[in-house]
Symmetry: none
Subunit: 217 residues, 4 copies
DNA sequence: TATGAATGAGTCTTCATTCAT
DNA sequence: CATGAATGAAGACTCATTCAT
């Protein structure tokens, strides 16, 4: 039977198959969490979406909590953390730093299209099992504080719009990028809008930030 | 029923008591929905918070669906609709119109402090029993289209920042106002931030909008 | 409706009915635990035996653990503790004290016929959810130590069989009383035996103890 | 199979390895059954204790029932049956016959230390999958009846304590021997007791029986 | 008007068991 | 020989809902 395995000409080896199934389950879970919220999503729904039995999900993840752990650690946190990488670079020009940061947010949303909706439903406000696994590990307080400091300095030196509240800048930028993506299905119903074009959003945000953050004159 | 309450001769008038209890239940429901999400909130939790029995809630609202109807119709929609009132006025100066609109959003969040969190969790993205009762009735497609038109016209006439995407302006403004309020508990953990001051937010948003929407020069 | 209740001529009042049902559930649980062991008994089995739904059991006892708590606290411990009451009296004549103690064991088994089997299955040896709730609260180490001391003294003074190990006396007596009762269904299969007569057991144990504990001569 | 093992030329002979593993599984099963009861023990627990996979256990024993069969047939029944061997010898002096019988019980408990706890939990009372496999095959009704007859005769002839109930003698003796061993962990908590010494128990039981069964004077 | 009692449907979870490899 | 993967059946538990009182 070793031979049978060794000569098997095609078909993915069982290990890969199993890993794939795990991946599929995680992906379906993320999608359903983004659509309905984590609390409203049952293991059975995830199993159906992934084409497996509910018991299979316990086989891979031990429990619902284990699945949430895996979703947070493997699907969400790597993407979210990438947004903050290199966030400390280029603080000499805070406007450009913020624009770069917004660009990384957009890139994250491209890599994980469910991110904007997850962010809105699960992370932005309130409490929840998924939020507890993501938010504490995702907000780099130090980087944020450094940005706030750099903005305040630039304002004192007349290089930035003094009306901007440095403390509210970061949430404002996240909001500008994520909300239109999260609200796609609402915007699609507005006849003049249609689906949100990622390129158009990037241009819009950049134009808004450059004009809004620059010092007058 | 105001009359009934006014003329009630002695003791707590039963009608008023009943109306009060109904009010209390609705309020507690709104709070729990904002904190935990509608899907994660049980009738029993609402009953405990309101100091009544679960059966009482069915007595007043017939069913969970009935409670959601009442929350949407009586607590949320009146506030949300007020944001769009007079939205068509002053479209001659879209920048000022948008600023006024942002001001009405802030006022709505002052009257219903749970609104930003509800908006983030329940209305912005995805699906949900509460969302189905609020969003379709809350987005006035026509007003929105008129605003889009006015902005586009102002851009063609050189009166507004041409980099702004008229279609994305409205979601951007909602996001700027609501997200910092919804994310209060995250922001409070950033040491340099503390609680979000409504006045400061108003100034920040206005400064951002005036600078960001104005045409250069 | 108060009237309706007040004048209701027959039928047990609802409060009593509810308490009865609780009692019935506890009784059925004790019986099944004695027959099959606690670990092998499902909530559904108890519910069926009591003529209620499984959900009803959660309504009364919150959880399986809550049911076990109630069984231990309300059904078992009161009976078990009564065995040790007045155990310190009459230690001047340990033989008589032990006989009296055996009598209280028999009385306990009369009041709770499931006790011998519960004792054998759940309390005597090993581990188990029910045992953890009963044994620690049921063995009065001090009374036992005092008895051991009194026996040793009587042996030194020549008033008791010196071959008896004082430390093993108590387990021996419990065993002599409880095992024949616990093993009724085995003994019934021995043709010459039939069911164990409580009176006969009392006489047998007393005769055995009097002869076995007395000093020779 | 002994041959196969003996002549195996090199390495660990696979057959022996397999037989060892089987043995290990049975041993672990017996231990867990004694500790927790058969009903509370899962195949997975046994597999973990034995260092194999649950599937392995099915491979060796076909099913849970098969494992129970093997435990009963191979681990428990041989030991239990040895207690009754030669039980019919020496019935001329029932007191000595009973003492010898008690000695064989102690010997059985020495060879299978789990026996007292298994006896208490699984065999003494009630019902259970393991009990059904052991008890019917373990109680030799005829030998027991003969002992009962011999005791009654000795009582009529004035050679034994007439207060003893012949029918209850056998359960009494089993109880005296097994209970202190089964209850070791309770007795260890009594400060004056400590662990039960097998030698001391043997002397205690013999002294108790000799004095308790002898006719007065 | 108000509620304690009751329940069916559905959730998460565990377990013995099977099977392809 | 051995096991990782997979599952159906069953367990405890929760919840919205109903109803007699």
């Amino acid at each position: 039977m070793n031979d049978a395995r060794r000569h098997a000409p095609k078909g993915r080896p069982p290990a890969a198959q199993s890993a794939d199934r795990r991946e599929t389950i995680l992906l379906c879970a993320v999608r359903l969490f983004a659509d309905q919220g984590e609390a409203a999503t049952t293991i059975t729904q995830i199993a159906e979406a992934a084409g497996v039995t509910p018991a299979m999900i316990h086989y891979y993840f031990k429990s619902r909590a284990g699945l949430l752990d895996a979703v947070a650690q493997e699907c969400i946190l790597p993407i979210v953390k990438s947004v903050w990488e290199a966030a400390d670079a280029g603080l000499g020009d805070p406007v450009e730093a913020v624009c770069a940061w917004a660009g990384r947010l957009l890139e994250a949303a491209r890599r994980l299209p469910e991110l904007p909706r997850l962010w809105a439903r699960e992370f932005l406000a309130g409490s929840g099992a998924l939020r507890d696994r993501v938010v504490p590990a995702a907000v780099p307080v130090q980087s944020h504080s450094r940005l706030i400091g750099a903005v305040a300095r630039a304002q004192r030196e007349g290089r930035m719009n003094p009306g901007i509240d440095p403390v509210l800048l970061m949430p404002t930028v996240i909001a500008m990028v994520m909300c239109p993506l999260a609200a796609q299905d609402i915007l699609q119903k507005v006849p003049t809008v249609g689906s949100v074009d990622r390129e158009a959003l990037a241009r819009h945000v950049r134009a808004f930030l450059l004009a809004g953050l620059a010092s007058r004159q």
